[in-house]
Amino acid sequence: MAKHHVTTTINGDPTEFLCETRQTLLDCLRDELELTGSKEGCASGDCGACSVMLDGRLVCACLVLGVEADGANIETIEGVAQGEQLHPIQRHFLEEAALQCGVCTPGFIVAAKALLEKNPDPTETEARYWLAGNLCRCTGYDKIIRAVMNAAAEMRGA
């Protein structure tokens, strides 16, 4: 069967790719566009390692088909830093040692950024529930939550 031609915007850049109907957005990002920052941990929407923004909405790229990206605006971990300028969430992840192996980190950063765009002043409980869709097996979440709360405070100018 012929592949689909998808025209989309990824991290601000107009992007085109070909994909099979069955391919997920995650497959397309990783295998067709070499954007391997989004990770596959489960392919069932349970671990959040592939978190991306689709038209301003936080989604698991493994639960979206590549063809659904047509005409959409996609933001991935690769677009979070501006050149050498890290996003405050990225900086706080480093400063609070909020990663050990680091494979869940891109998903957490994308999800945390979505949280703070929606709710700049979350309580710890709100942050924990927002990030409940992202699994981390190394850290026990303590330092991740601290990094997100500290980034939120910095971004609010507090």
Binding site: K39, E40, L94, A97, C101, V103, L131, Y141, I145
Partner: protein
């Protein structure tokens, strides 16, 4: 307490102040890992590569009668199919003894089944095709004819008279006389101290209980993945994530019948392992497919495959008995463990026996372990393998003993704590250890003073892990600008680059930002044992310290040459060579020395290849507060504090992280995680939705206390820290729940339905 308290504060037994050790710089590989640039196992591609897919058994126990690959091979795009017949036979006597005994014969049959499949998900064939989709389609066309056998799913099943046998040649080792008939019991092990049976007669209080736990998985977020390429001259390259590139090299070479020297393994970043990546699954399949196809082959597992066919660690039954005097003095202890090894012999039951009573000073102890094979995936190492289940049993009966004696559970442990000179049941006499200090810290922690509300309970439990040393290598290279590259052979699983850089910075006396640690492939650094056993910061760290010292010595010689003075006249201070007793010569920085390297003997480097001895054991004590909803059986963890003797924290943030992460894995083990099989032995919960690991909203902050009693076997006092933190939580959580509901819980996990039935007395 005066003297002892002073001793507690000794941070550096060599009496030297640290400048870099103990600080918290940003990790050297950090930016790549927060921007998505870091390459993990599945992120690697090779030009022209094709895609492999494993054909897995749908049966828990069956004889393979016939495999027909014709239909799969006929699919356009399919380039190769392999089955067990394509792999060489391994000598059954070929074994390696490490943290657990590794039988290469068994492991090779775990990688791909030969005559029998032994668990749901056991690999029987593999297919490589030009796309992942074609490989998946073709895999479904591999026809395997099975004679389905009755599965053996539990210790009870396995021990039954006339139970089906997994292996007709398995005779229980460690029993006299040698059994005449094969069975599902692979081994009996025993550790004994004194005369426990007689000593129980002296006990004024005895507590005995049987406990059970279920199979749990390491749960690393990154599924196994690799790319293998075989050149026309037979040389093999493998890119993969693992806990040891040298382990992957030797195992793959052996299982494929290739000389080890013809295999090169290039380590990717590893997305979690916890012991589960100390063995291999995909690499030999990828190599044999690549060889047949003449193309590089990439293989990645799905989460379903990870849960069905890798890891896990043993579920089992643990019977613990303790006897004490009324003042709390322990007089005797017994532990009997039955661990499920999975499909092949080799559960960590011996390690459970060795660790269960290790935190306690006892004259009379008996620990007996039984290694039982069942039709579940072959157990792999999981963080302090074998210890958490044994500790769960021992720490639970101690808690019950404390309740019966009306004693504080920390006081009971303090009264019996192992100290320097204590003879452990497994044979060693402890050197200076910090177990009692963790108990003192727990007793004095604000957490321990907080009043509890209704339906709430507080649990305390301790744990022990050996920690290991072993062979490690390091090379340090001084760049022309005076900065340093530190090369080691151990995958960085949780921030070890940061600790390597800090230890090198301490030796050189330069800013850690000027040190770049890298992890080399198997042809660019001498052999190092894998990342496991909590050994890297201890053993590889020791190699880095010695290699850096070697480079410092070299730079002192260069400075002596540059100044034309005796070597004895050169000292090293804060990253600079200084001339003793002469102010004619201005100190030389590393950049000054490196800039003139070609005039003083060429490039500057240092190296150390060591077999590190003197690993210091780790002890931890955890406090857990829970609230139980009596209507639903749901347990909420309210507060959690993990306290551990860490020797010396090189990068305290990552040490805290080990304590927090281990504690939470243990909380998951205690509360929700378990393998659920149907009557035919098929795994029912093959995804993260229902293999329920803890998420952020399940947990509070995890408080930590780093007690630092230096290990004299390491120049900076380091003890391994990674594994100990998963030993206490099962007991800590269970003790908290038991106290909250007023009934002793003995079966994990304490998932809502199970706990509700205990509360309701069913």
């Amino acid at each position: 307490m005066g003297n002892e308290e002073n001793q507690l504060r000794i941070i550096d037994y060599s009496g030297r102040e640290f400048r870099h050790i103990g600080t918290r710089p940003v990790r050297p590989d950090g930016v790549d890992k927060v921007t998505g640039r870091a390459n993990f196992g599945a992120d690697f591609t090779v030009n022209g590569m094709i895609f492999g897919r494993v054909v897995r058994s749908p049966h828990a126990h069956a004889r393979i009668k016939k495999i027909n690959i014709d239909k799969a091979l006929a699919v356009p795009g399919v380039k190769a199919v392999v089955t067990g017949q394509d792999f060489p036979q391994i000598d059954p006597a070929d074994k390696a003894v490490g943290e657990v005994v590794v039988s290469y014969y068994d492991l090779s049959r775990n990688v791909i089944a030969r005559d029998k499949v032994l668990y749901d998900g056991h690999a029987v064939a593999a297919v490589a095709a030009t796309s992942a989709a074609i490989a998946e389609r073709a895999a479904a066309l591999v026809e395997v004819e099975y004679e389905v056998l009755k599965p053996v799913m539990s210790v009870a099943d396995a021990l039954k008279k006339n139970a089906p046998l997994l292996h007709k040649d398995l005779f229980t080792s460690g029993v006299e006389p040698k059994p005449e008939k094969p069975s599902n019991v692979a081994a009996r092990t025993e550790f004994r101290l004194g005369d426990p049976a007689a000593a129980f007669a002296d006990a004024e209080v005895i507590v005995e209980r049987e406990f059970s736990t279920q199979t749990v998985h390491q749960g690393y977020i990154e599924p196994h993945a690799c790319v293998a390429s075989v050149a026309n001259d037979g040389y093999v390259s493998i890119w993969c994530s693992s806990q040891g590139q040298f382990m992957v090299r030797s195992f793959t070479a052996k299982f494929c019948g290739i000389e080890e020297s013809k295999v090169k393994v290039i380590p990717a970043e590893i997305g979690g392992g916890f012991g589960g990546k100390t063995v291999i699954y995909l690499e030999p399949l990828a190599v044999m497919l690549a060889r047949k196809a003449g193309r590089a082959v990439k293989m990645t597992m799905t989460r379903d495959e990870v849960l069905r066919a890798t890891g896990p660690t043993s579920g089992g039954i643990a019977r613990a008995k303790v006897g004490a005097r009324k003042d709390g003095t322990l007089v005797s202890g017994e532990l009997e463990l039955h661990y499920e090894a999975g499909a092949f012999a080799g559960s960590p039951v011996a390690l459970g026996c060795m660790t269960g009573f290790a935190p306690y000073h006892m004259e009379n102890v008996s620990c007996v372990g039984w290694d039982v094979v069942v039709n579940r995936p072959k157990a792999a190492a999981y963080r302090a393998p074998g210890a958490p289940v044994a500790a769960f049993a021992v720490e639970s009966v101690l808690d019950e003993l404390a309740q019966q004696l009306g004693m504080d559970p920390i006081e009971l442990r303090l009264k019996n704590a192992a100290r320097e000179g204590t003879q452990a049941p497994y044979g060693v006499k402890f050197n200076r250890i910090g177990y009692a200090e963790t108990l003192e810290a727990a007793k004095n922690h604000p957490h321990y003073q907080i009043p509890l509300g209704p339906n709430q309970g507080r649990g305390v439990a301790s744990g022990f892990w050996f920690n290991i040393g072993g062979s490690s290598s390091a090379e340090v290279m001084v760049n022309p600008d005076g900065t340093v590259i530190v090369v080691t052979g151990n995958p960085d699983i949780g921030g070890s680059r940061a600790s390597m850089a800090l230890m090198a910075a301490e030796v050189f006396g330069i800013d850690v930002a000027h040190i770049k640690p890298i992890i080399a492939d198997t042809e660019s650094v001498p052999f190092s044992m894998l990342t496991g056993g909590s050994r890297v910061t201890f053993a590889t760290g020791k190699a880095v310290i010695e290699a850096a010292q070697d480079a410092v010595n070299d730079m002192k010689r260069r400075a002596a040459k540059m100044w034309d003075v005796d070597l004895a006249q050169v000292d090293w201070e804060n990253g600079r060579a200084v001339c003793i007793e002469s102010d004619q010569h201005k100190p030389l920085s590393m950049a000054d020395i490196a800039a003139k390297a070609d005039k003083t003997g060429g490039a500057i480097s240092g190296k150390a290849n060591i077999n590190a001895k003197g690993a210091g054991p780790g002890f931890g004590t955890h406090i857990c507060d829970v609230e139980v909803d009596p209507e639903t059986g749901r347990v909420t963890v309210l507060r959690y504090t993990a306290i551990q003797d860490v020797g010396k924290a090189i990068h305290p943030s990552y040490v805290e992280g080990q304590l927090q992460g281990g504690a939470v894995q243990g909380i998951g083990w205690a509360l929700n995680e378990e393998y659920v099989y149907d009557a035919e032995g098929r795994l029912q919960n093959t995804g993260f939705l229902d293999y329920r690991m803890p998420v952020a909203s399940d947990l509070p902050m995890i408080d930590t206390v780093l007690v630092e009693v230096p290990n004299e076997g390491h120049p900076y006092g380091v003890r391994g820290v990674g594994e100990t933190p998963i030993v206490p939580p099962l007991g800590a959580v269970a003790n908290a729940v038991s106290r909250a509901i007023g009934k002793r819980v003995a079966d994990l996990p304490l998932s809502p339905p199970r706990l509700l039935s205990i509360i309701d007395g069913k």
